[in-house]
């Protein structure tokens, strides 16, 4: 079961304990409205959640046009930008995330964990 919405951290998310061998991932996807690359990036993140998330992830989608202050906070220049906030160190993946291998590697996710 996955969800891809703006949502603040909620008790229910934390209550879903992650699988033992899966790292808790906190992601923030910065997009610009519904540009082609933004839509594509959203789709890729959804795919990621389908494949890897068993409820232990925290995913936020931020539209920079609505929340430029958050973009400033994270020092995001490009859209889309996927920021991995946890685990440390923070990482940024820039682009529509179309390259699956690069995406999963950058997030430290291995296909071997795929169900």
């Amino acid at each position: 079961m996955w969800r891809l919405d703006d949502r603040a951290r909620s008790a229910s998310t934390l209550a879903n304990k992650p699988r033992g061998d899966e790292a808790t991932l906190a992601l923030r996807l910065f997009v610009a409205d519904d540009s082609t690359s933004s839509v594509r990036a959203r789709q890729q993140v959804e795919r990621l959640q389908e494949r890897f998330d068993a409820g232990g992830w925290e995913v936020q989608v931020v539209d920079v046009l609505e929340r430029p202050d958050l973009a400033e906070e994270e020092r995001v220049l490009a859209t889309p930008s996927l920021v991995r906030r946890r685990p440390s160190p923070p990482r940024k993946i820039v682009g529509d995330l179309s390259d699956w291998e690069v995406l999963t590697a950058a997030l430290g996710l291995s296909e071997a964990r795929d169900e």
Partner: protein, 509 residues
């Protein structure tokens, strides 16, 4: 010489309103300032002062025009930028706190990986946000080209940056973007950035000239109006920031003074029919030992005697030597120095460029407010600088003293010891000054004699004769004209006819 302003070469464009920047001298060169609400590029090699220029643009906006601003920085962290200009007295941190400056920290952050297509909408959104937050009227984007280092596809970066820059137009903020160049006389900027910043280009150069860094500013283009062409020297003054010289010291001159001031010597005052005009520049040219420094000291002392403050700028000796020498000619300067009515300022032009020196002199004059100055010697400045730089300095000095209504006495040394070309050093100097006095050794009858002549003195019916003079413990005494002598200026003094003058004969009647 710098270009006089004239019609722009481009066909007449609709006049765009100009935003006065507030950087000394720049607005004159730029024909009023930057195009309001448009984007201008400032390009320069590393160390040319682009970042300083941009920060000064913001600071001047806040201080002089009460305008808020926004800063976008790609290379240096905001804290570093603030710290760098603290010594100039610019409190950018304070402006941020007061809500008068918004900052976008666009420096590289976390480790980054690329995967697919992207644009710079986030950057654009952040800039808009900053501008709107403080209702900024000025925007400075520093080191825009640094972003190329973070992304792989330069062509794509350029394309997307161009979109961002174009989108800024809607904000109608007067924008300055700084970019780096690698060559002083090569392409405008790296990566072809200049192609999408279309409204204006300013180039800051920092070239080596005879071992000195010579900084020049050139307004390559500014849309919608006139601007001066060519390169203008600028300095980075540790107390004020960027200053375009000598444009910054050339101010509208008021009516010329009719008041006369004494040269400090009765004989010379008589040769000049009453002294020189209050706001004139007079040059004395003579070989070593002819008495130029003595005349400079006399001039200064005349001012002190009239109750005026004076500055003696020395470029060859130190103040103690100057005081001692003056004492040997019967002039006591030490007391006036102690009483702070006279300043003897030794400056070292080898250590600073002539533009920096001019700005320093301007400050010295502003701080002390003398009514007359002496410069001993101009020749020391001519050595080790290009003819162009020296000429610019001379023009700048002339404008500086005239606009302040100060009388200036300059000394210089011609190349030859005896006679010589009869000229002074450099064509420009002799045309800039209002008066020229020559001191020459004359070899007559196996003796070395001294002759003084007022070669030119604008607006005065001066003595045309060559007079003999002597120097002793009472200073300089001007004697009778040397009749029957010809060829002094040509360097070949000799008597004509059978006239003959005994040494030191005849006091002036």
């Amino acid at each position: 010489m710098s270009d006089p302003s004239g019609p722009a070469a481009a066909p007449a464009e609709r006049e765009l309103e100009r935003q006065e920047v507030g950087i000394p001298g720049f607005d004159v060169v730029a024909g009023g300032g930057l195009p309001r609400g448009r984007t201008t590029l400032v390009a320069g090699t590393s160390g040319a002062g682009k970042t300083l220029f941009g920060l000064q643009f913001l600071t001047a906006g806040a201080r002089r025009f009460g305008q808020t601003g926004a800063l976008v920085t790609f290379e240096e962290r905001p804290e570093d930028l603030f710290a760098n200009v603290e010594s100039l007295g610019w409190n950018l941190r304070g402006l941020v706190k007061a809500g008068r400056l918004a900052v976008v920290d666009a420096t590289p952050g976390d480790e980054m990986v690329e995967s697919g297509r992207y644009d710079f909408e986030a950057l654009a959104a952040r800039i808009r946000h900053a501008v709107e937050k403080v209702a900024a009227e000025r925007l400075f984007i520093d080191a825009l080209d640094a972003v190329f280092a973070e992304f792989a596809d330069a062509g794509h970066v350029r394309h997307e940056l161009a979109r961002v820059v174009r989108s800024l137009r809607a904000l109608a903020v007067t924008t300055l973007i700084s970019v780096e160049r690698t060559e002083e006389y090569g392409p405008v900027a790296r990566r072809g950035v200049e192609e999408f910043v279309a409204d204006g280009v300013v180039i800051l150069r920092n070239a080596l000239d005879k071992g000195n860094r010579r900084r020049t500013l050139e307004v390559l283009k500014l849309r919608g109006g006139q601007h001066r062409k060519g390169q203008y020297p600028y300095v980075i003054d540790p107390r004020g920031g960027v200053e375009v010289v000598p444009v910054s010291v050339i101010e509208a001159e008021g009516p010329a003074s009719c008041e006369r001031i004494s040269l400090g010597n009765e004989g010379l005052d008589q040769m000049t029919a009453g002294g020189i005009f209050r706001d004139s520049l007079v040059l004395v040219s003579g070989a070593t030992g002819t008495g130029k420094s003595l005349m400079a000291a006399q001039f200064v002392q005349a001012g002190l005697a009239a109750g005026e403050r004076a500055i003696l700028f020395c470029f060859e000796e130190n103040p103690a030597q100057v005081v001692r020498n003056a004492a040997s000619w019967g002039m006591e300067l030490a007391a006036a120095r102690r009483a702070e009515r006279l300043r003897i300022l030794a400056r070292y032009p080898q250590r600073m460029g002539l533009e920096d020196l001019l700005v320093q002199i301007k400050r010295d004059i502003q701080d002390f407010e003398p009514r007359r100055i002496a410069v001993d010697s101009m020749t020391a400045l001519e050595h080790g600088s290009s003819a162009f730089a020296f000429s610019e300095f001379t023009v700048g000095l002339s404008s500086l003293v005239k606009s302040a209504g100060i009388g200036a006495f300059l000394t210089s040394t011609p190349l030859a010891l005896v006679g010589g070309e009869g000229g002074v050093s450099g064509v420009e100097l002799s045309t800039v000054v209002d008066g020229i006095i020559l001191l020459r050794y004359l070899e007559l009858d196996g003796e070395i004699r001294r002759g003084v002549i007022v070669l030119k003195l604008r607006g005065v019916a001066h003595d045309r004769a060559i007079r003999e003079y002597v120097i002793d413990g009472q200073g300089m005494r001007v004697l009778q004209p040397l009749h029957g002598v010809t060829g002094v200026l040509a360097g070949d003094a000799h008597f004509v006819g059978d006239g003959h003058l005994a040494a030191g004969s005849g006091e002036r009647t």
